[in-house]
Symmetry: D2
Subunit: 365 residues, 4 copies
């Protein structure tokens, strides 16, 4: 099996040479201590299956507190399922989902949204900084108005985006307005939702229902869990019978408590936020560390926990030889590093040092 | 209900002003006399349902003779179904279908292929003249090789293309070669297959299985039937259980003889070819007729029965006021005219005259 | 290809022996003269595609008059599609459809409803006379109330039923009440809707929306068309975006006028009703004709145009040898005859005579 | 939320009265120590995502050793997904899956198999002891041979069955033979595969590919994991592109090592077998313990880890008041207890004592 990649390729062909050092994605990290604490707790005694345990309702209530509203919470295994199920609940097979051309649902779910919805078409838009704009959305809606093309029904935004940038609250509000104009629902892919909250210093409520988001997929996996995403509906009607949808689609865990209890570890004491802040800080440290390395360019504003760098091919090879794992960004010649809750300053500093060395070597050639 | 359109808009808002004159598509024509003859014949007595009548096998055998091989034939109602079912038989939900960016399956089936296949993703390519190239196909296959993106499994080519151009036999052969290299099946959308055969002066066999096509969707509707497309499999294994697929998908006519018998009208005496030749000749007449009208440009080589013209907006409006129905070609400022088995020289000449008048008026303004 | 059959087998193995005489189904008849008249009319000149012609709106309006309400009408090709699309619009993939165990959607659509809805489960009930009862419906709803089983969402009733019986208006009303109690929509498979109206001597309005039906699939094919079913929504909200659903699923005819115009032939002058009355009368004639043939039993009350008879195996063979085509009813030893708009008294009388002869021969053996 | 149940109802309404005591299912138990050991191990350092870690290949190889063949292994999250994906890989949407009427895929997956396969119909058979028979399978295949009904393509057997009985190797072989006769694939739902191996004292190889099984879904969850089922293909061709299918369907874990590493805990030192043996022994202990309690009847042979008892309603209530959780078996008046890797003799003995007390109380009333 080769390393699965997105619109990019993990450069791990040489991991035999040196011990791997993981910055390819925030999903290479493990379970954070607070989540593990609850996982062990939940294992201390038997409990009812399918979410009827003592942990699941507790975790759901914690979400309601966090979001300051009586929202509906569903726990599923992973992000493909969370996004695909949420979208399937918002549209029928003949509807379209407007998303950015770099959106994960378009580039890295192997047709998951189309599968779960039985054919909804993704309608990608190519706008700057990995972010949808009101104009971009409107152009997709208005370019066709006939039944021979899927009718746009949902706008899907990723916060933080695939290139590590952020929508401001104003930008979210503007998207809500265009969505209202064209009768669209708003879905937020929150694979890195925590990092966005931390970076913008806004509350989860402000960044979701107060800004017009109908459904959020909040990733726990990338924030320190083994598995587990929370789908948060802010409109009860949209969540109608959603538990059946999850069950039918293979996303109802029998031992649900091993998903929900660890979420308590993240939610209590705002560990989710601390984890995200740390990851963001490490990304910032990396981007600042490379600022004065000649030949290395930061490709996008570093607003969350991802850093995209343009690095010469020969320097990329040097990094691989040093054991660094990272994705390359097709067509751009860039590389991606993602920081996580457990990324250490030492690791970042070592990467900066290796990058400096890599570029220095190149110049000597 | 507004006029359904594709990547274009029927300009029929003013059809109250003048009697409509139809060149918007070859599907505005009716049933040709030879097809009608058989339709009436088939109605003379009762017969078994679901294709067990005396006409269906006869029509299927006629196809086998026409294609000079023991192919499998299935009759369905329309092109959306024909293409979508054929593609669904070639790929699984997690596979991808490489097609041109202007392909009808991408732009005008409202997600039909994704629906019938339960999620197969169309992978569009933008190459010149509406035609796929071996390089374009290869680039789609090779840009990703991971399980996070649908695995390409089919190349779908449209012959004649959506912009009225044609693949030569050599071009088809080159596509077969790249398909073999990457283990891809080749599907041909033959919405205007007859026009292509007529224009290239090649046999149906030469343009399909001899050129490496695995499955053809041969349109009868655009060639003079009321309804009815023939799906032709040149590989028996690919057709396995396909009759069940048609039935489940609502494409098995109970009174099948009213689809299959009219096909005999097209197939006997090569009426299909005569119809296509006539349509092609009318398209040629139109393109030649406008050649020396200043301000009108022919946008693509006129190789089949479609003519795309660049016409100034004011002149387009003049045509509408005269009752002409046509599609506009979004983003190009162009208009499309399609000729059919019953398009008359008089009609073409009237259009040319109106175009000349339209441009003359513009110049006076 | 063998004759496709349902829960039964067409006995046509010997049709070479004698000229076939068709009573296997009402879909072995052709196009009635009034429908053909309009088909020919619609072919007299070109027209816009996809239902934007002059016939389609006219036919839709005629339906609105017939049903005495502002309903929404969609024309599709056949019954599999009509029922499956209507059901798909009423339920999600994780919902269940309560139907009779003998319902066509359960026994003869090759999984069409499951396919179009992406997995909705049919929940069959076995109650007498081929008819659902309020108790039967309630028992399905109440036997499970957990998310591990599809949630019932629709009741589908067939009027007339698969065994030629009818729901009275009171029975329909009682089903509506149980549907309301459990938040279910009511779908009516009207493959033989005309025959039911004719037999009960009630109006289309009385038998549908006034009796609580949400969506009706009204078959034109069995009533005298070549193809064409009308899906009639009595609730506009349920019909939302349904035109996209039809298009995506391959059920939007480009030359729509050849479906809709012939409907005018049925609707004008109540030809649909006359056709149905005739078919019903022929069924009655058959059932009365066999009344005193010893050894032949009428299996179900003959309330519409189908007659189910218990006939000894040897007598069945005699009929086959005489060229009669009919279905056998598995597990019952019965045979089915269905009369149509063009079934003649002569044909019925000949069948009665052959049946009498068949039984007489048996007694001699 | 009420306790989700199958064809039965968890009797937990009174769990407030006494501390719950869990015998409702083997999925109320937690993670066994050996699995937890590896989960903690896998968390000690970061690793590549999507199965490219150091644990996944190791676990897969362990399966190959266990099954004594070069099989293909895929890890997914739960049983709904495992069975549904495996079935979807064996059949197309218009195919049928023959299964027992009590099979979990029929009664408790909320239409999962129909959803993942886009419409394959389950064809249930009602034969004794929860087990399919060659005659039952043959009867489904032969009762229809037309395209109006899904073509049977797969036999799905559950080992151990839903009622705790087992297929002998001879019975499996006989099913393989009828499958070969009708060109059917054989799928084994191994939700309690380990218990079956332990009880029959046969090897995994003997009970699968040597007995003609094409695909096995081996449950880890019920054997001591938090989550995780292994889909084992014994025919490489059937597994073609299956990794794409898993990804698209939301069953590819990014932090895969937390599914695969714990499997090592089960596979090493045959912990899977020891866990199963223990559970089976506890079931045996329960069935023997109740043998001489008058008024309690064992409903099915206790061959694995489930015990079905007929218990008077009043006695059931007594048990509920004591805190016992169990499912009731609709229409039978029975109750189900399932033992697990951590069910203690003390717990079983307490249940037996409470049952004895419950029946004694009843007799006093």
């Amino acid at each position: 099996m080769t390393t699965p990649v997105s619109s990019n390729t993990v450069a791990n062909s040489d991991i035999a040479i040196a011990s791997p050092r993981f910055l390819a994605s925030d999903n290479t990290s493990g379970i954070c201590p607070e989540a593990m604490h609850y996982l062990l707790q939940a294992n201390e005694q038997d409990d009812l299956a399918y979410g009827n345990d003592v942990w699941t309702e507790r975790a759901a209530n914690h979400f309601r507190t966090l979001f300051e509203t009586d929202c509906e919470i569903f726990f599923v295994f992973n992000g493909t399922a969370a996004n695909s199920l949420a979208l399937a609940s918002l549209c029928q097979s003949y509807h379209g989902v407007i998303c950015h051309q770099l959106a994960h649902i378009e580039t890295d779910e192997c047709g998951g949204p189309e599968f779960f919805s039985n054919g909804s078409k993704l309608l990608p838009v190519d706008t700057p900084m990995g972010k949808l704009t009101p104009e971009g959305i409107a152009s997709v809606v208005t370019r066709r108005n006939d039944i021979h093309y899927p009718r746009p029904r949902v706008v899907s935004i990723t916060q933080a985006t695939e290139v590590g940038t952020l929508y401001s609250l104003d930008e979210l509000q503007a998207i809500r307005e265009v969505a209202d104009r064209y009768d669209l629902k708003v879905h937020m892919d929150g694979a890195r939702f925590a990092n966005a909250c931390a970076s913008l210093n806004v509350t989860p409520a402000e960044m979701t229902w107060k800004a017009g988001v109908d459904v959020l997929c909040f990733s726990g996996t990338k924030n320190g869990l083994a598995f587990g995403e929370a789908i948060v509906f802010f409109d009860h009607e949209l969540a109608r019978d959603f538990e059946y949808r999850c069950k039918q689609a293979g996303q109802l865990a029998s031992k649900m408590r091993f998903v929900s209890a660890p979420w308590l570890g993240l939610l209590e004491n705002n560990v989710w936020l601390a984890n995200a802040r740390h990851a963001n800080a490490m990304a910032k440290r990396l981007s600042e560390g490379v600022r004065n390395i000649e030949g290395v360019e930061v490709m996008f504003p570093v607003q969350a926990n991802s850093v995209f760098l343009e690095v010469p091919a020969v320097a990329q090879q040097y990094l691989r030889d040093c054991g660094w794992t990272f994705y390359t960004f097709i067509g751009e010649g860039g590389v991606r590093f993602v920081c996580s809750w457990n990324t250490s300053e030492t690791l970042i500093d070592a990467l900066v040092a290796d990058l400096r060395q890599a570029l220095a070597q190149r110049d000597q050639q």
